[in-house]
C-alpha cells in the first residue's frame, strides 16, 4: 500500500541555500524548544529524500520510527535513547538489539495516526515506507514540516523511479546508512556499523555455481516474488544464488507456470505472520503441479523472516543466515 508521493516544489531549495549562506548563529530558530545540545559540527544537513528536501539544523533527539527497518537502524547506530516511540513493526527485533528494543514505547501495531505521532512531540519521523507519511497515517510531509517535525523515509523504499537505485546493492545500502548517520549526527557510529557489516558480508559463503533460486514473498495463486533490482536480489547476490525471475522490478507477481518452467534449485520462502513459510511449504507440497518442482521434492527450502527481506541493517545477517541454511543443504561452495 505505497501510494505515490508527490515531489515537493523547489521552494525549500531556495530557502535552504539562503539558510546555508547565513552564519551558524543566525539559524537557531528551531520550532521545538530542545536546546540541550549545542549545534553539532556538520550541521545544518540537507538531504533530498525521495524528492523532498529535508534540512536538519541539529541532531534529532526525539525520533518516532515507523516499520522495523527504521527502528533497527537506529538501534544499530546506538541511538535507542533518542527513540520516543516505534510503530508498525514487521516482526520482533532480532538479537543484538532485542533487549534495548524491549524498553521502547510501541505507539501502534499498524501505521499510526497523525495525532498519535504528534502527541509524542517528535522532531523527526523516520519512516520505512513512503505511505507511512500520508494524511491518513503519520501525516503529510509538508504538514509535519510546518509543525517543525522533520520526516525521513528509508531511501531504499522511495516510490519515484528516479529515486530508486538502479539496482539495490550493499554499497548502496551502506551509503544509505551513511546518510542516516549524517542526519542523526552520528557519522562515526555509521562508519563503524558499515565496517562491521562489510566484514560480516565478506564472510558470507556462496552457493555452488549456477544454483538458481526463487524468492517467494506471498500470494498463493499468483506468487509475489523478488525481482532483479530490489532487496531480494541484493541478498541473493550476496549468497551467490541466481534469481530465476528476470524482470527488472523490486518485486513482481508471477504465474506458477513460469515458475514451473524455470524449476529453481532452491526456494527462498519469506516467513510472515500473515503467510508463514510453513503455509507456503504446505501449499507447495499439496498442489499436484508444484509438488513436482525439484526444490519441493528435495525439500530445498531457505526460510527468511519478513522484516529481514527489506533492505536494512538485517540484510547482511539475512544473507549469512541463508548461507548457513545452504550449508545445511550441502549447497555451499567449499571455501
Amino acid at each position: 500500500m505505497n501510494p505515490i508521493r508527490t515531489a515537493r516544489p523547489r521552494l525549500l531549495a531556495a530557502l535552504t541555500v539562503a539558510t546555508l549562506a547565513l552564519p551558524l548563529a543566525a539559524c537557531g530558530a528551531e520550532a521545538d524548544d530542545d536546546t540541550t545540545t549545542e549545534t553539532a559540527a556538520g550541521y545544518p544537513v540537507t538531504v533530498d529524500n525521495c524528492g523532498t528536501e529535508v534540512t536538519f539544523t541539529a541532531p534529532p533527539e526525539r525520533v518516532v520510527t515507523i516499520k522495523s527497518t527504521s527502528t533497527e537502524l537506529m538501534l544499530a547506530l546506538g541511538l535507542a535513547d533518542r527513540i520516543v516511540g516505534t510503530a508498525f513493526a514487521d516482526g520482533p527485533v532480532p538479537e543484538p538489539w532485542a533487549e534495548e528494543a524491549a524498553d521502547l514505547e510501541v505507539i501502534s501495531d499498524q501505521a499510526p495516526s497523525h495525532e498519535v505521532v504528534l502527541e509524542h512531540e517528535p522532531d523527526l519521523v523516520f519512516a520505512g515506507w513512503e505511505s507511512n507519511l500520508a494524511a491518513d497515517t503519520a501525516g503529510e510531509r509538508d504538514t509535519l514540516a510546518k509543525l517543525g517535525v522533520n520526516s525521513y523515509v528509508s531511501p531504499a523504499a522511495c516510490m519515484e523511479p528516479e529515486y530508486q537505485p538502479e539496482k539495490m546493492t550493499f554499497p548502496v545500502l551502506f551509503d544509505q546508512f551513511r546518510e542516516a548517520g549524517r542526519i542523526l549526527g552520528v557519522p562515526d557510529a555509521a562508519e563503524e556499523l558499515i565496517a562491521e557489516q562489510e566484514a560480516a558480508l565478506a564472510e558470507v559463503g556462496k552457493a555452488a555455481d549456477g544454483t538458481t533460486a526463487l524468492w517467494w514473498s506471498s500470494g498463493e495463486d499468483t506468487p509475489f516474488v523478488g525481482g532483479t533490482i530490489g532487496a531480494p536480489q541484493m541478498v541473493l547476490d550476496a549468497v551467490g544464488l541466481d534469481n530465476v525471475v528476470t524482470e527488472d522490478a523490486t518485486w513482481t507477481s508471477l504465474g506458477w507456470e513460469a515458475i514451473l518452467d524455470a524449476d529453481p534449485d532452491v526456494l527462498v520462502l519469506v516467513d510472515a505472520t500473515w503467510n508463514s513459510a510453513e503455509d507456503k511449504i504446505e501449499s507447495l507440497e499439496s498442489n499436484p503441479a508444484t509438488r513436482e518442482l525439484s526444490a519441493v521434492k528435495a525439500e530445498r527450502y531457505l526460510v527468511i523472516p519478513f522484516p529481514a527481506g527489506e533492505a536494512g541493517v538485517r540484510s547482511v545477517s539475512a544473507a549469512a543466515d541463508l548461507a548457513d541454511q545452504l550449508d545445511d543443504l550441502g549447497l555451499l561452495q567449499r571455501q
Binding site: W251, S253, L254, G255, E257, D263, A272, N275, A289, E292
Partner: protein, 353 residues
C-alpha cells in the same frame, strides 16, 4: 383441429434478428467453437511447450496416447492449464446465464448477477480467510459469505413488503454496501506487508488458483443448477409484460421467481467462490448476445452460456500470457474489454431509451 389454409406468402418468422435457419447452423458452430477454444487455449502459456506435446500429455492422462514430458512439464499441462481453461469456461457460462436471468427477473438490462449482494458477501468471506488465516477452505468461506449476503438481501426485501424486483435491487444495494464496508474494514485493519496483493487478486477476480477441485465445483454447479435454469428459463419470456400478464398466462409468478432467483444465487455463489468477483461478464455478455439473438430466453440463455464460456477462456488466456511472465487478475481484463462493449450496447439502445 384442422389448420385453416394459410396464405402462401406468410411472413417469415423472425427470431430476434436472425432467422431460425441461421440458428440451426449457428448452434453446433458455437459448440464447436467452444471445444476448439478449450483445445487451443490449453496450448498457450509462458512455458515452452509445443501444441503436440500438450495434446499428447492430455491424451496420456486419458489413456489415449503416450507422453514423454517430465513430471513437472506434464504438471503444467494437466494440473495448471487444463483445469484453468475448464474452470474459465464454466465460470464464464455460469456468470453469463446468471446475468441474463437477473436481468429478466428485475426487468432491467443493467442488472448483473451480483445484485443480491453475492459478490460482496463472498469477498468478505474470502478476505477473512486470507487475512486472519482461518483454517477454512477459501471456496467454502466465500460461498458461505455469498449465501449469508443473499439471505440478508431477501430478508431485507421481504421486510419492505411483498418482494418486488425494485425492492430486491434496493435491498441488494444496501447489503452490498454493508458487506463491502465490512470487507474494507477487515482489509484496512489487518493488512500487513504485502498481503494486500492476494486480496486485490481475489477482489478483482482471478482464475490463477484453478485446479481440479475448482473444475468440479464449477462444472457440477453448472450442470446441476445451471442447466435446469437454462431449460426452465423460457418461462421468463412470459414476464415480458409484467407480473400480472405472466400470471394471466398461467405462470406461477412467485414460485417461478423464487426458483430462478435461488438457482441464480447458487450458480453465482459457486462461481464467485471459485474465481473471485469477476466483473462485467454477467452484465455485458447477455446484452451483447441479446443484440444478436433477441430477447427470447429460450435462445438467450443457452447462447449466453456458450458465448460466456468462450469469452472467459480467451480473456483468461490473455490474463496469463499477455504480460508474461507476469500474470494479471482476469477481472481487470474483463472490465477492460467489457467497458467498451457496454458503451456500445448503451449507444445501440439509445433510440430505445
Amino acid at each position: 383441429m384442422t389448420a385453416p389454409t394459410l396464405t402462401t406468402a406468410r411472413p417469415r418468422p423472425a427470431a430476434g434478428r436472425v432467422g431460425t435457419a441461421t440458428l440451426v447452423v449457428a448452434t453446433p458452430l458455437l459448440f464447436a467453437a467452444l471445444a476448439a477454444s478449450v483445445v487451443v487455449a490449453v496450448t498457450i502459456g509462458p512455458a515452452d511447450l509445443t501444441a503436440g506435446e500438450v495434446w499428447r500429455a492430455i491424451g496420456s492422462h486419458l489413456g489415449l496416447a503416450t507422453s514423454d514430458l517430465t513430471a513437472i512439464r506434464d504438471g503444467i499441462v494437466w494440473e495448471l492449464r487444463l483445469p484453468r481453461v475448464l474452470t474459465a469456461a464454466a465460470v464464464g457460462a455460469g456468470l453469463a446465464v446468471s446475468g441474463a436471468v437477473m436481468q429478466a427477473l428485475t426487468r432491467n438490462p443493467l442488472a448483473d448477477p451480483y445484485l443480491l449482494g453475492l459478490s460482496s458477501g463472498a469477498s468478505l468471506g474470502a478476505v477473512l480467510v486470507l487475512l486472519t488465516g482461518l483454517s477454512v477452505s477459501l471456496t467454502g468461506a466465500a460461498f458461505t459469505g455469498a449465501m449469508i449476503a443473499m439471505v440478508g438481501t431477501l430478508l431485507l426485501a421481504r421486510s419492505l413488503g411483498v418482494i418486488t424486483p425494485s425492492r430486491t435491487v434496493l435491498a441488494g444495494l444496501a447489503i452490498s454496501s454493508f458487506f463491502g464496508a465490512l470487507t474494507s474494514l477487515v482489509v484496512f485493519w489487518n493488512t500487513q506487508g504485502d498481503s494486500y496483493r492476494q486480496i486485490l487478486n481475489w477482489l478483482l477476480g482471478s482464475l490463477a488458483g484453478a485446479d481440479w477441485g475448482t473444475v468440479q465445483v464449477a462444472c457440477l454447479t453448472l450442470l446441476l443448477v445451471g442447466l435446469p435454469v437454462i431449460l426452465f428459463g423460457r418461462v421468463l419470456d412470459a414476464f415480458a409484460f409484467g407480473d400480472t400478464a405472466a400470471a394471466a398466462l398461467g405462470v406461477n409468478v412467485s414460485r417461478t421467481r423464487w426458483l430462478l432467483l435461488g438457482g441464480t444465487a447458487l450458480l453465482t455463489g459457486a462461481m464467485v467462490s471459485v474465481s473471485g468477483s469477476i466483473g462485467f461478464v454477467g452484465l455485458v455478455l447477455p446484452n451483447a448476445v441479446r443484440l444478436v439473438v433477441g430477447s427470447r430466453h429460450r435462445l438467450l440463455l443457452p447462447y449466453s452460456a456458450l458465448v460466456g464460456a468462450i469469452f472467459m477462456i480467451w480473456v483468461d488466456t490473455g490474463a496469463r500470457t499477455l504480460f508474461e511472465p507476469r500474470e494479471l487478475p482476469v477481472g481487470i481484463i474483463t472490465v477492460l474489454v467489457g467497458a467498451p462493449v457496454f458503451v456500445a450496447v448503451l449507444l445501440k439502445n439509445r433510440e430505445r431509451a
